[in-house]
Symmetry: C2
Subunit: 157 residues, 2 copies
Amino acid sequence: MNLSKRGEYALRALIDIGIAHEQGRKLLPISELAERERIPVKFLEQILLQLKEAGYLESRRGTNGGYMLKKSTRSIRIGDVVRLIDGPLAPIACVSKTAYAPCSCPDEAHCGLRMLMLDVRNAIAQLLDRHTLADVVDVTMKKLLRDKVCPPFREAL
Amino acid sequence: MNLSKRGEYALRALIDIGIAHEQGRKLLPISELAERERIPVKFLEQILLQLKEAGYLESRRGTNGGYMLKKSTRSIRIGDVVRLIDGPLAPIACVSKTAYAPCSCPDEAHCGLRMLMLDVRNAIAQLLDRHTLADVVDVTMKKLLRDKVCPPFREAL
DNA sequence: TAGAATGTCTACTGGACCAGTCAGGATCCC
DNA sequence: GGGATCCTGACTGGTCCAGTAGACATTCTA
């Protein structure tokens, strides 16, 4: 039931970029993201590139370059990001909606394990597909404000 | 979000042993389990041994030997079996109840990812810790009967 | 009492995957 | 032109997964 580091970093980066966006800073350089989230720069590079290829981000090279959102935060479902990086949400392939594969059990229709794991898959998908990046950014911002903590990425320098 | 083959096989074996138990067959040899579930015998051996060490099963050697439940099906929580074989249910360590570890994020209290993953963890735990082996066996048996399918492990020979 | 049927124990292995690291190249801005 | 940034591709050390292998111990039955 694991989210890989890669998946974790991808989501953290997206959330940060979303928060920055909310505050008027559209373009964020990798170095700044990596420093704040304590992620190795070169590793994060790969991940952002993958998110770019998938259409979530766009980039600008050169001085003052960086990454920015390509889609609206509201149209980015967390579940899809996890699927992109880590593969299907389902614990076992025979209950996956997006990547079904038959399992080896003798009678799938009467497999008790399958019924249970289907519930698990649905519970996970319910949460991750219902929530968009916008939701997560919102909640984070509200919590920061409530606790009177200054949000990050306020202004470039 | 993956359940390993090892975990899958462990649960399938426990469910089978539970079903057999329900029908008066307490002792099941590995070979029979392996054949029905199409699991490599030697691999299943290791798994059953682990379940035995953890107190879920007991065994008898020799001709007509095999494995049987040591605890009641009602006292075996699925979540605990998964934890035993596959580790914590939580997608990331910083939301695990049984194996908490801090993550690298700068402010755990205001981490949007953490809030979301906590919900995921709770949803999974809710399902897997609420359900016992007895529940799964029950549901399976009912579905078999409803569809007029003869349950396996009826009689030894 | 032999031998067949089981579980027990320990070691090993090929391959995949994870979490990076490294080196260099292409753009862009000043 | 030079420095900041993204881009591309290769590589790697370690860990884990899913099994395989083989010898051994115990128990039942003929």
